[in-house]
């Protein structure tokens, strides 16, 4: 609150006070009253005005300055009411009460929405688990009846889409339903590879894996999902060549343990590479393949952020794609656990 603005706001009152002053002054001159009285009257009158305005100004100045400073410092601006006290002057009090009521009703609204979203999320999760039961039955049935493998492939595709939505919900939600533990990378890779075994063999993709016995701190299920997304991309975007391959290795550097997943597929065009983690981005490659949703890598990136890992992607179009996962190798997690 600048003093200039304050005075401008009070211009009406100030002008009335000045008019009154000049009227009284003209009376004093008109009635030929002692000149000393004129001076004393002027000093007292003007001093009174200044004191009154100073009192009013500073009272408001401190309240509003405090409020604006706190507002600037706050990340969650809607918490402002909790931080300021109700002021002593009337307008401020009215203003404060109104703000408080607005805030309260907004919070109630937000809680309402949160609850709705949570209920929806719970329902979807439950629904996904329900759908998986008939899927299991179908898989067993096709296995026993030795039904054509294309049907099994389609069932597995359904399962993959279900997993995607499940992890989308998990990645968007603040509920932290994961457990950080030491995980043997080769075990996670083994499970992902077994899951994709049939299609890898069918597409003639050679798999080379070099992981030693490297352990990382992560949630095993989330990591399995992330690696599965990357591997299914590698399988989707193969080149029309004889020696198709996927190479997976892990190594340590100073700060990180790095898991590298390399494929010699069609690669990613330069203009698209910075956008692959964007939501629903499919790009030039996505248009070639109709089963691209543009969600896979977006979810992977989100899950990585939640777990404190990093994911990067390198590619040379027409030659290779390399996805790198960075895991912290310091002992922070272990101390927390």
């Amino acid at each position: 609150m600048k003093i200039g603005n304050y005075l401008k706001d009070k211009i009406f009152i100030i002008s009335i006070l000045l008019i009154v002053y000049f009227i009284i002054l003209s009376f004093i001159i008109g009635f030929k009253i002692n000149i000393q009285f004129k001076i004393i009257f002027s000093i007292i009158y003007l001093l009174m005005i200044i004191i009154l305005f100073c009192y009013d100004y500073f009272r408001k100045y401190f309240f509003y300055k405090d409020m604006i400073n706190k507002l600037k410092l706050l990340d969650e601006k809607y918490l402002l009411c909790e931080l300021i006290k109700s002021p002593y002057f009337l307008e401020g009090k009215i203003f404060y009460d109104v703000l408080y009521e607005i805030n309260k009703s907004m919070n109630e609204n937000i809680i309402d929405y949160k609850e709705k979203i949570n209920n929806f999320k719970d329902y979807i999760e439950l629904w996904i688990h329900e759908v998986k039961i008939p899927l299991s039955a179908l898989i067993l049935y096709t296995h026993n009846k030795k039904v054509n493998k294309t049907i099994l492939k389609e069932i597995n595709r359904i399962d993959e889409y279900l997993e995607q939505i499940l992890y989308y919900i998990r990645s968007e939600n603040s509920n932290e339903d994961y457990i950080i533990k030491q995980v043997l990378l080769s075990k996670v890779i083994r499970d992902v590879m077994l899951k994709n075994k049939d299609i890898l063999l069918e597409k003639n993709i050679n798999v080379t894996i070099d992981l030693d016995n490297i352990l990382v701190l992560t949630d095993i299920k989330w990591l399995e999902f992330m690696i599965n997304q990357v591997i299914s991309n590698s399988i989707k975007y193969v080149r029309n060549i004889k020696n198709r391959e996927i190479k997976i290795k892990a190594y340590k550097n100073k700060d990180n343990i790095i898991l590298e997943i390399y494929d010699n597929g069609i690669g990613i065009p330069k203009c698209d590479i910075n956008k692959v983690f964007n939501k629903t981005f499919t790009g030039i490659n996505g248009r070639k393949i109709n089963s691209s949703t543009g969600m896979g890598l977006y979810i992977v990136n989100n899950l990585c952020k939640k777990l404190g890992h990093k994911v990067k992607i390198e590619s040379d179009e027409g030659k290779y794609t390399k996805v790198l996962f960075y895991f912290d190798s310091n002992l922070f997690y272990r101390e927390v656990c």
Partner: protein, 221 residues
């Protein structure tokens, strides 16, 4: 023959599991009386239980905890919840393994096999097969003083066939077993490995031990 009890409330899954397990050389039984589940389990006394978490009357985890007070029958928990927290909980209640729906049937069979082997608590170093001695640790096959080295892949294939001796083993099963041991080989390599295995046994005078059943798989005689 190992007896496996299926505790699961989806009818199609039950019947298909039963067929699959019976085809794979186990004797499968389906639990019908969920109301007195614990008593029926103890009555049936299986070698292994496939226990679904969502069953009528009692939660699977609850049932597992009650069961553990009475018996150490190996239990594989089956659930559609793909969640690490649930898995950790089940294992802490005393499950021997945990598998999520929808599972690959071949992988389920591998897991069952692994749990049964683990609970037998026998670490076998050598196998006597016909007049041969197979030393698993050293990776060799011996006959009198002759010795032939088997590669890791050949050993995995032989051991798997040996466990299922007399049963047909599909190529898919062998492949799954190999990949499960981190040997990510392709179809050609599997064919090559099997023919090498055959010729190595032939050198020791055991010809035609692995029979090919067209379109079905292999049998170790």
């Amino acid at each position: 023959m190992k007896k496996i009890l299926i505790i699961e409330d989806d009818k199609l899954i039950c019947s298909e599991l039963e067929v699959m397990l019976n085809n794979s050389g186990y004797k499968a039984t389906v639990l019908k009386d969920f109301e007195n589940s614990l008593a029926s389990i103890l009555n049936i006394n299986p070698d292994l239980i496939l226990l679904d978490i969502n069953i009528p009357f009692i939660n699977g985890e609850e049932l597992l905890r009650n069961l553990r007070k009475e018996s150490n029958i190996p239990v594989i928990m089956v659930t559609s919840k793909n969640n690490e927290i649930d898995e950790v909980l089940s294992m802490s209640y005393g499950a021997d393994d945990y598998i999520t729906k929808p599972y690959n049937p071949t992988i389920l069979l591998l897991r069952i096999n692994a749990v049964l082997k683990r609970t037998l608590n026998k670490i076998i170093d050598t196998i006597n097969y016909h007049d041969l001695i197979i030393d698993i640790k050293k990776g060799v096959v011996k006959k009198d003083k002759e010795e032939i080295i088997l590669t890791k892949n050949e050993m995995i294939i032989f051991l798997y066939l040996y466990q299922k001796q007399g049963c047909i083993v599909s190529r898919d099963e062998l492949m799954t077993e190999l990949w499960n041991n981190d040997e990510y080989i392709n179809d050609n390599a599997l064919t090559v490995n099997i023919s090498r295995l055959r010729s190595k046994f032939k050198e020791l005078g055991c010809s035609d031990i692995i029979e090919t059943r067209k379109g079905q798989g292999y049998i170790l005689l």
